[in-house]
Symmetry: C2
Subunit: 304 residues, 2 copies
């Protein structure tokens, strides 16, 4: 069943890609919060903010400890919320860490995080997705260029791009060990993708990330045009630094041949006024550990 709401972000519906202007803002309303006006203006213009010291050393250590603990527990239990690198048993992602770990939930409900989310999204917020990613040394795979919102809209039924992500470095992120790259300003465009979402697609799309052929990946001509017009920014940072970026930013990351692994906490905040409906371009919903269907505001969730 696909959504019947009027769709301002059509995708996976035609054979020819289009580059549309985004009809929605990136910053919703003018709620007060921890971000100063120039930072908020920069976010509205570029679609991202780099924060040098969002988490302190103890908070980073808590996340790393939880990564070790949860990785071992979930792997032993063959829990579907752990994903592995390629065909190995090396942990690549752990999902739903905000539900699995009271400690991580405790970090996220701090005003420096949750009030920033309310400020950007102009409402109460909930966690759409929360995972820890590890890009191992020597052969960490790439993530090809994409808009998260395109996927969340098509496969999860997120109506509008009233959502953003925080990527927090848990190990040092160098420009050369698979760091996040963004094309600044591309959050204001919506590139429609071609192809049709096959059933059970999320199983594949989490593990493999190959260019061109995949559904939900923008075509190369559009990406070339976007990179020529917008350039590319690459985010390096010490543990505890963070990149806040709009759900519709074109982003990706290279593989990592260096011996330095790269771990990040990745949290997606969505507005409670933008909760999921049925998928706009997929035959079924993705599982709730990838796309939450519990829309309880984060502040209330923390009391559980």
């Amino acid at each position: 069943m696909t959504s019947t709401l009027a769709d301002r972000y059509p995708t996976r519906t035609a054979d020819t890609p289009q580059i549309l202007e985004r009809p929605d803002p990136a910053v919703w309303g003018d709620r007060p919060g921890p971000l100063a006006d120039p930072s908020l203006d920069a976010y509205a213009r570029t679609g991202f903010l780099a924060l040098e010291h969002l988490f302190d050393r103890a908070e980073v250590q808590t996340c790393l400890d939880e990564l070790d603990r949860l990785g071992a527990e979930l792997r032993a239990a063959e829990d579907e919320r752990v994903a592995f690198e390629g065909d190995t048993r090396q942990v690549r992602s752990i999902f739903e860490v905000h539900l699995l770990s009271k400690e991580i939930r405790g970090i996220l409900v701090q005003p420096k995080v949750v009030d920033m989310a309310r400020q950007i999204l102009g409402s109460e917020v909930y966690v759409h997705q929360c995972r820890i990613n590890c890009k191992p040394g020597f052969d960490g795979g790439p993530f090809h260029w994409h808009s998260d919102f395109e996927t969340w809209h098509a496969e999860d039924g997120m109506p509008r791009p009233r959502a953003f992500s925080i990527s927090v470095a848990l190990t040092e992120n160098y420009p050369f060990n698979g760091a996040l790259m963004i094309m600044p300003g591309t959050h204001a465009k919506f590139i429609t993708c071609c192809g049709t979402t096959p059933p059970g697609y999320f199983h594949d799309s989490l593990r493999r990330h190959e260019p061109g052929a995949q559904v939900g990946m923008p075509d190369r001509a559009s990406l070339t045009r976007m990179s020529d017009e917008h350039g590319i920014e690459c985010f390096a940072g010490k543990p505890g630094s963070a990149t806040v970026f709009d759900s519709n930013c074109l982003h990706g990351s290279n593989g990592n041949v260096t011996p330095f692994p790269r771990s990040n906490l990745f949290v997606v905040f969505n507005s409670v006024e933008n909760t999921l409906v049925e998928p706009f371009a997929a035959p079924e919903r993705r599982p709730p550990f990838i796309a939450a269907r519990d829309f309880t505001p984060l502040a209330e969730l923390a009391k559980r």
Copy 2:
């Protein structure tokens, strides 16, 4: 037939890797030349030098024009001196461009290049290898960490590391489109590699560059130790900028998912007092377009 000279750089001879101290210098003698003493000292210590403007715009354009011309000609002729990216017909490398192109030869014999080579190597020099590399956008493959000298010694019979490379950017090199990375100071160590060189190995090793399993690649434990002790430097630069690096530096590069291709001219200078003998650890010589057996000094070659 393998070389019977006393070997101070044993490799591919045992199952356990070793990290040896290099018995030879990086800068040979004190010949005058275009490099100032502090630059030469830095090169001796770190194994590399970054030169911001080695080539001007016209010289870069000449190289790019020759790349287009030679790529088309050699591909049409199915010449073995052109290598392709993966299984595609996209040109990845063209070899022996100093012989194929009078224009490129003309660039290399300029004092700013050839006198620098004489200054570093303390003798007349010849070209051991000269190629143009293209790392295409979107799916350029990685080069895993290795020492060129280990290969040239084992497979080409180069007696000592009295050689260096220049990598000249022909398109802009960003930290994120597959730029050269070096572990500074590792030129002073020699990491012995395990395994035995199979016959015809060069065919594979030029096309595929996978970690771990391959002969001539240092083991992961040694690479981790080297990166912890020496760190990693990544070289970005405008067209015309160059990195000069010792033949024994540990270096590599990540794949490239960005739409920006990356082309470089890569020239290896060897001392005429260090010409090739028989391979030290391979059953046969590699072809001369990969490892020249014509030791004519560059200055004389240019008169041809």
